[in-house]
């Protein structure tokens, strides 16, 4: 197993880490998830947001508890140390598959979004191929390049998100909120799962931990990120009180419908083009992060001297997988709503939890093994 520090020498600071985590989660949360959550939780979407953030809290503590015991190593390196060589290799291969599939799913989301909103005549193949080709060159420059690119894009994205929220806040009708918990606790709990799987994408820190220049403070950073995500989710959730829960549940991309109605008088309107261009840049950064993590894991598992050699072959796989995976846009949304949370949470919650439990049981043996 190649050491991660040998594969990449770049470091990112806490601010860059916070920006990366925020843009990674919020970029896709804004596209499909308001409708997906509204379909399950209906008018209680805001309760789903609270539950999802509360459930994400122990997961973040778990990631840091694991990483703190193995400084300078990532999950691909310490999984075999905790469980043994063969089970560790199986876990690593499963984690690798998870990241490859998740990158392909994000690419499929991007392709579908672009085709549905702006380029209906352009083949989705062209959108995906070009995105993958450009992303390959970005990730070959390393984690620092992605973090710096994101530092530039983050503030533009965040200010536009706040702009959308404040431009539409006068349309919010809080009467849609009542009656609270009309059908009991189950609908908001069902709405929690898709949001939790999205928030738990913070689990990329399990792979990226050795690149944090100040890794002792990353727990505080992650918790602040979770708090900001909570407010941003609630801002996004206001859409349910603008259109009504029924309408949002029937929409495919509710946020797109929302930005189309923003106007100031009759002369300032059609902000959607500008806002969606910025959203796409956020999704692009997310693709870069997941693609980068997939390449790093592949290079580690196959014992490579440099992860850059495997970027293009993985790009070829990522270019074809999104086309092959979903027959149409409905299949994609249905997958995101019903299957993805269970698929993702196994790798975001159950695998790290099992690793931590085994670590606690075999702590002395594992730590003495590392020293020798």
């Amino acid at each position: 197993m190649a050491g991660i520090v040998k594969l990449e020498s770049g470091k990112i600071n806490n601010r860059q880490l916070a920006y990366l985590l925020l843009i990674m989660v919020i970029s896709t949360a804004d596209i499909y998830f308001p409708s997906i959550v509204a379909r399950e939780a209906y008018r209680d979407s805001w309760i789903s947001v609270i539950l999802a953030c509360l459930a994400a809290l122990p997961l973040i503590l778990l990631y840091h508890a694991l990483a703190r015991n193995f400084p300078g190593k990532n999950i691909i390196e310490y999984a075999p140390l905790i469980t043994g060589k063969i089970p560790g290799l199986i876990i690593n291969l499963l984690i690798w598959l998870f990241y490859i599939f998740t990158t392909a799913i994000i690419l499929a989301e991007l392709g579908d979004f672009v085709t549905w909103t702006f380029l209906p005549e352009t083949p989705v193949t062209a959108t995906i191929l070009l995105t993958v080709a450009v992303a390959s060159f970005t990730i070959k420059k390393g984690i620092e390049a992605i973090a710096r690119l994101n530092e530039f894009l983050f503030w533009i994205g965040l200010s536009l998100l706040l702009f959308v929220a404040f431009a539409t806040i006068n349309r919010v009708n809080l009467e849609y909120m009542l009656p609270i918990l009309e059908n009991g606790f189950m609908p908001p709990i069902r709405g929690t799962l898709p949001l939790l799987s999205l928030t738990a994408e913070i689990s990329v820190i399990l792979v990226l931990f050795p690149f944090f220049s100040n890794y002792k403070n990353t727990l505080g950073v992650s918790l602040k990120v979770l708090l900001i995500l909570f407010f941003l989710y609630q801002l996004g959730g206001l859409i349910v009180f603008i259109f009504s829960p029924n309408e949002v549940a029937m929409m495919k991309i509710a946020t797109f419908e929302l930005v189309q109605i923003i106007s100031f008088g009759i002369f300032l309107q059609r902000f959607d083009t500008f806002i969606i261009a910025v959203w796409l840049s956020g999704v692009y950064v997310k693709i870069c992060i997941f693609f980068y993590v997939s390449s790093l894991i592949t290079a580690q598992i196959f014992n490579h001297s440099d992860y850059r050699y495997i970027v293009m072959p993985i790009a070829s796989l990522l270019a074809i997988l999104p086309l092959f995976m979903f027959r149409n846009a409905t299949a994609l949304v249905s997958f995101l709503a019903h299957i993805f949370p269970f698929f993702a949470l196994i790798f975001q919650a159950i695998v790290p939890l099992i690793l931590y439990i085994i670590f606690l049981i075999r702590k002395k043996a594992i730590l003495s093994g590392i020293k020798t």
Binding site: R190, I314, F326, F342
Partner: protein, 78 residues
């Protein structure tokens, strides 16, 4: 479209001579494996787009779908 495809193939093969010159056989073998899998997947996509077990999402759906159904229960089956 054809131009984009040719450009992409060239990009994928861009690193191969480098790996060959530096005698990075491990890297070259892994790259060959990935490119072969991608090509086979692409050929299958062109020949037939019917859903089968070979589709990765079907594998995920059949694996994680029963968990989803058992948790969501009636709501999903409706």
């Amino acid at each position: 479209m054809k131009f984009i495809l040719i450009l992409f193939i060239l990009l994928v093969l861009y690193d191969c001579p480098n790996m060959f010159r530096k005698r990075l056989w491990n890297e070259l073998a892994t790259s060959a494996l990935f490119i072969t899998v991608s090509l086979l997947t692409a050929i299958r996509y062109v020949i037939s787009a019917n859903d089968t077990w070979a589709n990765p999402v079907n594998i995920l759906t059949y694996t994680f779908g029963p968990i989803a159904r058992s948790v969501f229960g009636k709501v999903l089956s409706e």
